[in-house]
């Protein structure tokens, strides 16, 4: 009889893990709290650095998981989680009990809730939006202010909720810099008349072809990169935004009027993941992400034997890394189940 693996979360990591486990001959249950699978992938427009359409990756994952060996339980959350000898008992919100031989946790990330940085005025001023909302505007092919007008000057704030001791997030979310560069280029493509300003602490272009994209943004599109953190945003009487920032290269304070401000919300441990950690006893680190058994050779291994991690529930990752991490989790599951009877 084939072994049963439960995968929690049907985002990029969960779908990849489920697909690969099924290919390896396991019976897989894929639990997803949302109605749709795909996670954050559904929210993105084009992906960095090659700017292919996000639906292409979604299509690949859907094909991978379109398989009789995978039972997708969407709209399902977990209420109880316990280990009995070598088996896991998972009780869902509908009261069903699922017995599993191994569990892959792929609960992913939530975007930092930008209203927590009240000084940037998200939720207070109409034309302060998040990077995810800008993606939505790209998908609808309409970048406009709340009054329907086309923005002329657009500011992009890096590190919103990342590298910020005041909100308790000391870590770098890694992908906001390249997202900002990508979005700045896309704004310029959609609105050739606009001026885009990026306010950054450091430009962390640590992935393949990121640096090239950064160079393109400067040389081809004339995006202004200003080194300095925005301290606060305000509003003028004619509904424009005023930001205060220190230009640390020029060594002087700046005040600037803008039409729109885009906040590069960082990645945080998801609420779903926190709930799982609470009911299962899985260890989390100071950054609140799940903490893996070893940072070098055990990044999929948890403190509970038979429970493995895949993807951004352990740290910020891009899609390429997430897929690799999910595949690595599958190989850990196979190793583990080989020894368990």
């Amino acid at each position: 009889m084939s072994k049963h693996v439960v995968v929690i979360g049907a985002g990029v990591a969960g779908l990849e893990a489920a697909g690969r486990l099924s290919k390896a001959g396991f019976y897989v249950s894929l639990l997803e709290k949302e109605v749709k699978t795909g996670g954050h992938l559904n929210d993105w427009y084009k992906l960095f650095p090659d700017r292919r359409n996000s639906s292409e990756v979604k299509h690949y994952l859907d094909k991978l998981t379109l398989n009789d060996g995978i039972k997708i339980l969407s709209g399902t959350t977990i209420e109880k989680f316990s280990k009995r000898k070598s088996h896991f008992s998972i009780i869902t919100d509908k009261g069903n009990e699922i017995i599993a031989d191994a569990v892959v946790v792929a609960t992913g990330f939530d975007l930092f809730k930008s209203a927590r940085k009240e000084e940037y005025g998200y939720g207070i001023y109409d034309n302060v939006i998040t990077s995810a909302e800008l993606e939505g505007m790209f998908r609808n092919d309409k970048i406009a202010l709340c009054n329907g007008k086309i923005p002329g000057a657009i500011g992009i704030v890096h590190c919103v909720g990342s590298r910020d001791e005041k909100v308790g997030n000391l870590y770098c979310s890694k992908l906001c810099c390249v997202t900002a560069v990508k979005q700045a280029i896309e704004i310029c493509e959609h609105l050739p008349e606009s001026k885009v300003f990026c306010f950054y602490m450091d430009m962390r272009m640590g992935g393949a072809h990121y640096e090239e994209l950064y160079r393109e943004a400067q040389e081809k599109w004339g995006v202004n990169f200003i080194r300095g953190k925005v301290s606060e945003a305000g509003e003028t009487i004619n509904n424009r935004l005023v930001i205060k920032v220190e230009d640390t290269l020029a060594g002087r304070p700046l005040k600037m009027e803008l039409d729109m401000l885009v906040l590069m919300a960082g990645m945080e441990m998801s609420d779903g993941g926190k709930k799982i950690a609470g009911i299962s006893g899985l260890n989390t680190g100071e950054n609140r992400f799940f903490s893996a058994a070893d940072p070098h050779y055990g990044s999929n291994i948890s403190n509970i034997k038979g429970v493995f991690y895949a993807g951004t529930c352990t740290a910020p990752m891009n899609i390429t890394e997430t897929i690799s991490h999910a595949r690595a989790a599958v190989s850990e599951v196979m190793d583990y189940l080989k020894d368990v009877n």
Binding site: R116, V167, K195, G234, T236, R252, L254, E286
Partner: protein, 632 residues
Amino acid sequence: MQFDPFVIPFNIGLYFILFYVVFRCVIWFRGLSRPDKLRLQRGFFGNAFVLSLKEIFLESLLHKKILKTNIRLGYMHMSLAFGWFLLIFFGTIEADIFGTKHLNAPYKAIFFRYFNPEHGRMGFEAAYGFLMDLILAFILSGLILAISKRFYSRVVGMKKTTKLKLSDKIALTSLWLIFPSRLLAESFTSGTYGNGSFLTGTLGSWLASFLPAQQMAYPFWLLYSLSLGTFFVLLPVTRYMHIPAELFLIFMRNCGIKTGDKSGTYTEVQTYSCSSCGICIDACQLNFSAGITNIQPAYLMKAIRNNDDVSEIANNCLLCGRCDQKCPVGIELSPIRMIQRRVGDNENVFTNIYKGYFRKRLHNIPEKSNGQLSYNFLPVTDPEKVDVLYFAGCMTHLTPSIKNSMVKILDASGVKYKFIDEQGGVCCGRPLMLAGMDKEARELINYNSQLFWKSGAHTLVTSCPICYKVFKESYYLGVEVLHHSQFIKSQIEEGSLKMNFLRKKVVYHTPCDLGRGSGVYDEPRFVLKHVSRLEKSKFDDENSLCCGGSLANLKLSSGKKYKIAQDTAAELTKGNPEILATACPLCKKTLSSATETRVADISEIVAEALIVTSVKRNINKQVSSIRELANI
């Protein structure tokens, strides 16, 4: 003449400590400023002296305040202090009436039973003996509590007790030995002569039944004398110096002497008056939320007395003022901490008791300023005559919903006002002052003062309790300074604000700088009751908690701040309110990240309830142009 060599240790100790206390008081008196010396002299012949005697009786002997906070701890202190006092008092009378002559040397009273072993067999003598035994039993009951507290602090209802240094431990041991050795010495003597009352008599006859009582008595009288002598000799270098120091402190306080902002005699007397009772430790959120147990006032006072480096301790504090509120001795703990912050690492003005007499007083040499203001990049605001100035403050600019709500309220109130820092402003100066940088803060204070004066306004309204406190205490503006809760209350009373009742369940968090810091408790409650269903909490008013975000703590990690915020928010939202209201932008910011409950400033709730009839906008809004970079 009745004398025995065993009394020598006691005599040495007693005369040493008497001489020392007098010597110390003379030094302290000489260290006072001239006005304070006059205050003391006037107090000595006036009401202050009588008041002090009363307070000494209630606090130094009975320990009324500790009894109120914690009855078992209070009993422990009372039985030792008041009991010992009674023992000396009635012992002296006993020696005077029943002794060989009147006006005896002190040791005759202390060791009365040794020199008068036949005394106390019947009648009045026996009744007096009963009284003396009763007092001794009273002290011993407290001593049992004190010893158990050392090993298990919860015996007296304390979560934490203070950690001791070596000299304290020796003094503590000798203190613990005093009364049991007296008990045994008197019992053996009573056992030998077959007298003594219910305690010493009973114990004595029982001991004499199987021990050679006559031979055993002398060593215990010697031990009694030795432990007394040791305790007295060590007193100046231990925390027990609080016993004489507190008497002097009470008198100084009743004469109207205050801590001020520099170190001096009064600060010194206060630090010596700390008995390390540990009540401040239990009150401190850094202890019970953040697990930091070495920075509380008891340890700060100890470190100052020991002449240790205190900068680490002094700077690791929220300055929430909870300890000031709870200190049974009434030591001005936060002002003393602020003095230590001002002194900084490079100066040791304050030296310990050995070096006290040779104290070296260092003087601050004011640095020469180059006359250049560092804030010349700010826009020059033209003087526009208004009645009311609104100063939002930096933190309010970081919580723009408060700022927007205040603009709405000010517009609706119809007062002629100007939003003075709408386009940005200079810090009020308090964060610098909290870091001990008063001189630098003065620069900001001067800038802001001139700005306020130019407008000719008679009222200054601010949204931030941090700014409010410094405007009230360190600016000399000559205008009425109001926190926005006070302004809103006055406008409600004048009838210029019309509001709906929101029917929301609200709990109010008192900000430290507004509540304990400035004594503003009622106005925010008045406003909230006016627009919502205000609920009570366990931590109202003087007993309020700090949100954890305090600017005053220069050492605390963000993780621990977050822990304090979570604990505070959890306590306040126990009754499941719809809104956790506060009156400080910093509290709002800190608490909102630590709870799922909506956190809102009073002004936001008022703005929500406001019925706006006509918008009267008095501010001349300046639209600033896009600067250099926007036009690249």
